[in-house]
Symmetry: C2
């Protein structure tokens, strides 16, 4: 018999992030997470396949957002501009979740297996954006290069955004990081 | 009792690549590899920790080469130029091994676990190059961005180099890929 639990997913996610931070990812069980959230393990498994998925369930939606934004960028936008538009669009997803994003990154930084998983996620996102660029008529290798360079920009902007105490928003960090890339490649 | 075996490492590597191509990585055992090479399993384990290491043992030397070349680039070279010099220096390692490199890439492309390992290797190389740039006085995020963009250039140049039938060398593919990156970031 399953009861309706308001915001079960959100409560489970928050409980998991707390426990991963307090005890470490390895030392936390699904039973611990359910208990902390005041829910059952059965409810946990209705929302997540395993404890790792709590950290990665958003990747599919993020990919759709990036791919959709690349596709929707103005026809006149060059490849890098289209990628920049897409990266900045993620601001809407991340900005209000800054604290939980910060917890998540700390958990991942502490665990080699999770770091690997995160690398694979970022590579998939780059690959999906390259596909979206090709559908805009961008040829390879320009499509792959732009998508990969864009993900490097994103990763570095993201790190800066969560690490600093200032109140700059993510899209501002992305624009700065993109300007740095342009400066570096122009040899400035 | 161990006999001295001429070029045991090379023979084991070649036998492994042949078997991984013929049967798949998963379906090949260390015993198979040793038999094909006309050597013992014991000899195999003197050279490689496991069958995966046959594909990745070169990563340490490659990293040293890249880091050394970034450090040795002319003082006047900007960050991207220093990275370009380092990437082109890999030509000396790869050019004469084109056929075995091609086999290796095909084996990796066919196996998700090996692809993950390869991603991690490339991320480590980027991270090592960023460190070498910082030691040249390049600040972050320019150091990380340049190293990551450089690895994207390398990956794409490498794919082109092994996939095509023409006789262009790796350093030429790297220069082309780098020019593409510059064109893309300049909005051309």
């Amino acid at each position: 018999m399953s009861r309706w639990e308001p915001n079960a997913r959100g409560r489970l996610e928050q409980a998991a992030l707390e426990l991963y931070s307090e005890r470490g990812f390895e030392q936390t069980t699904v039973a611990d997470i359910a208990r902390r959230a005041g829910l059952t393990e059965r409810t946990f498994f209705r929302h997540f396949a395993d404890k790792r998925e709590v950290l990665f369930w958003g990747a599919g939606a993020l990919q759709e957002l990036l791919v959709g934004a690349v596709a929707a960028a103005p026809e006149s936008a060059g490849p890098l501009d289209a990628v920049a538009v897409a990266l900045e669009a993620t601001d809407a997803v991340f900005e209000e979740r800054r604290e939980s994003v910060r917890h998540r990154q700390a958990v991942i930084a502490a665990n080699a297996e999770l770091q690997e998983r995160e690398l694979i996620k970022l590579a998939s996102l780059a690959s999906a954006m390259a596909g979206a660029l090709r559908r805009r008529g961008v040829k390879d290798p320009a499509a792959s290069l732009t998508a990969e360079a864009g993900m490097a920009v994103f990763r570095i902007a993201f790190e800066r955004w969560i690490s600093e105490t200032s109140q700059r928003d993510l899209s501002q960090c992305i624009r700065e990081s993109l300007d740095e890339l342009k400066a570096v490649t122009a040899g400035r």
